[in-house]
């Protein structure tokens, strides 16, 4: 019999909307439907709901409401930040610095700008995925207009030295954007102390709704309108506000920030338990990402001799939702660019597995997942010609794993 219970271990992909969040949102679909730009009372109530949400979100990253611009999500925020900065500062120069491990919303935007005549430096990362600050500083040129480095990596969970990068950017008078989609409400963020000029975040990663995000733009950064056609978002992004989304996002951010310490402590405990058990009980497994500078909810391993998609389907058969950086899951022939950037050979990168927990993940869930994983990895290795070769090659030598 298949296990009926679903164990959701893909919280870096998306999260369920919390009941409190849904409750806060619901009135804004029906009785509180007014366009915030109207002058009648049902509209002005909505106007203040949006204002309150903006103020609340501002406080979660240490800023004031006028610097928060609501968008449709993290990808839009990244696109806006990079394209608009490129356009606004092109008289100063056409050079952008980013890293090889960014989300595709940043990488593909940079590649697009390269086609438009911009130059982009893609910084290397070390074997744990951390940016080299000296390499970053050396890459800055007189025509560099923007540095974009993610706060924490979505695949391997590595947390970048954001405050240090912000300091370098400020010293050189270069704008600094960070994609904080994974870090937002899981790690403390202070845009002033960290010298962040622009920051992207998303609602659905923090138990808020999909289709809502924000871009923080520091006052004085002269980037332009992304959507023309109205006065919304200080005329920088026109369009009637997604009021239920904004209200839900703010409620989710409020809950997550209020409980950040408690939630992330629970996540860390489960994360560390899973990492310890996998390392102790599954041979030829490699932890990807930095051990210390790591998102509280991220577990990422490569299992040699097996392929990620097979692993995911068999885990799904046991009710476990996870993700992989294998080629088969990326829709291309290459495995994840992040795993290649940390120096893994292709065939090992194909065998990656990402498990991202939440504060609701129990130790029992974690144990069930590791137990299932042990069984599945062994089963797939039994089927693997690479494992067969490996075992035959080592037979006669010491017979230890």
């Amino acid at each position: 019999m298949m296990e009926k219970k679903i164990i959701y271990m893909d919280n870096a992909a998306t999260t369920p909307v919390k009941p409190e969040v849904l409750k806060a949102m619901l009135p804004y679909f029906t009785e509180k439907f007014g366009n915030p730009s109207g002058i009648y009372s049902i509209s002005s109530d909505n106007r203040s709901a949006v204002d309150d949400a903006r103020a609340l979100i501002g406080t979660t990253i240490g800023t004031t409401p006028e610097n928060i611009y609501f968008t449709a999500g993290g990808s839009e925020s990244d696109n806006w930040a990079i394209k608009a900065a490129a356009e606004a500062y092109r008289d100063k120069g056409k050079h952008i610095i980013t890293t090889k491990i960014e989300h595709h919303a940043v990488l593909h935007t940079c590649q697009y700008l390269e086609k438009c005549g911009y130059e982009v430096t893609y910084l290397d990362v070390d074997e744990n995925g951390i940016v080299d600050l000296e390499q970053l500083e050396r890459a800055i040129r007189p025509d560099t207009i923007l540095i974009s480095v993610m706060f924490a990596n979505n695949e391997i969970g590595t947390v970048e030295p954001i405050a240090e990068i912000g300091k370098i950017a400020k010293e050189h008078g270069v704008l600094f954007h960070t994609d904080a989609v994974q870090a937002y409400t899981r790690l403390p963020i202070d845009v002033d102390a960290m010298h962040i000029d622009m920051l992207s975040a998303s609602g659905h990663k923090i138990n808020g709704p999909k289709g809502i995000g924000f871009l923080y733009i520091r006052k004085g950064v002269k980037i332009r309108s992304f959507v023309h056609g109205g006065a919304q978002e200080r005329a920088r992004r026109a369009g009637t506000e997604n009021v239920p989304g904004i209200v839900g996002f703010a409620r989710a951010a409020e809950l997550a920030t209020e409980h950040m310490e408690a939630y992330t402590a629970k996540e860390r405990k489960v994360r560390d338990h899973m990492i310890a058990r996998i390392e102790a009980e599954i041979p030829y497994a490699r932890l990807n990402g930095d051990r210390e500078r790591r998102l509280p909810n991220n577990v990422n391993f490569c299992f040699r001799f097996i392929e990620g998609e097979s692993l995911l389907i068999l885990l799904d058969g046991k009710g476990i939702c996870a993700s992989s950086g294998s080629a088969c899951t990326s829709g291309s022939l290459d495995p994840s660019h992040v795993l290649l950037a940390i120096g893994l050979p292709h065939e090992i990168a194909h065998g990656s597995l990402r498990l991202t927990v939440s504060e609701d993940t129990t130790m029992e869930d974690a144990d069930y997942v590791v137990d299932s994983l042990k069984e599945i990895v062994a089963h797939l290795r039994d089927m693997s010609p690479l494992y067969e070769d490996f075992v035959k090659k080592n037979r006669g030598d010491s017979y230890v794993q």
Binding site: E307, P345, H346, I348, M383, S384, P385, L386
Partner: protein
């Protein structure tokens, strides 16, 4: 994304394993691209495939096509096995998603590679059979990380 038959052959693969002293063994694919298939054939003096086993490193479709290919060639003569094309494997599995069609090609190549090995060992020629491509990338897999 997969048909029920693909899921069945992936979750309950037929004929996984090795054959000691096989009449022919063929390995195709490339670890870099994420698929390697190895086919073992046991062929009797009447050129009938008595047994066929496989080992595969790869996605669900790679495992399912290997499993189905072994089922399709078992009990067949060498000449009949040559007719087991990638299309035949795909049809037997009720189709594959477009991005996975290459897995069925790999299954056909694996059968051919094992037959080639059998033909070489026995100094015989099989009509229409070509030398398989050497493309395994074993040296890469030995790399330590």
């Amino acid at each position: 994304m997969y048909s029920e038959k693909v899921m069945d052959h992936f979750q309950n693969p037929r004929n996984v394993g090795e054959i000691a002293d096989a009449s022919g063994v063929g390995t195709v694919g490339n670890a870099k691209c994420g698929d390697i298939m190895r086919m073992y054939l046991d062929i009797d003096e009447n050129r009938i495939i008595r047994d066929c086993k496989f080992k595969t490193f790869g996605c669900g479709a790679a495992v399912a096509t290997s499993s189905m290919a072994t089922e399709l060639v078992r009990g067949k003569t060498v000449e009949e096995a040559m007719q087991v094309t990638n299309r035949a494997v795909m049809e037997a599995l009720d189709g594959l998603p477009p991005v996975k069609v290459h897995c069925s090609l790999l299954a056909e190549e694996a059968i051919h590679a094992a037959l080639w090995d059998y033909a070489e060992k026995n100094g015989i020629k099989i009509e229409g059979l070509k030398k398989p491509k050497e493309d395994i990338g074993e040296e890469e897999i030995e790399e330590e990380y």
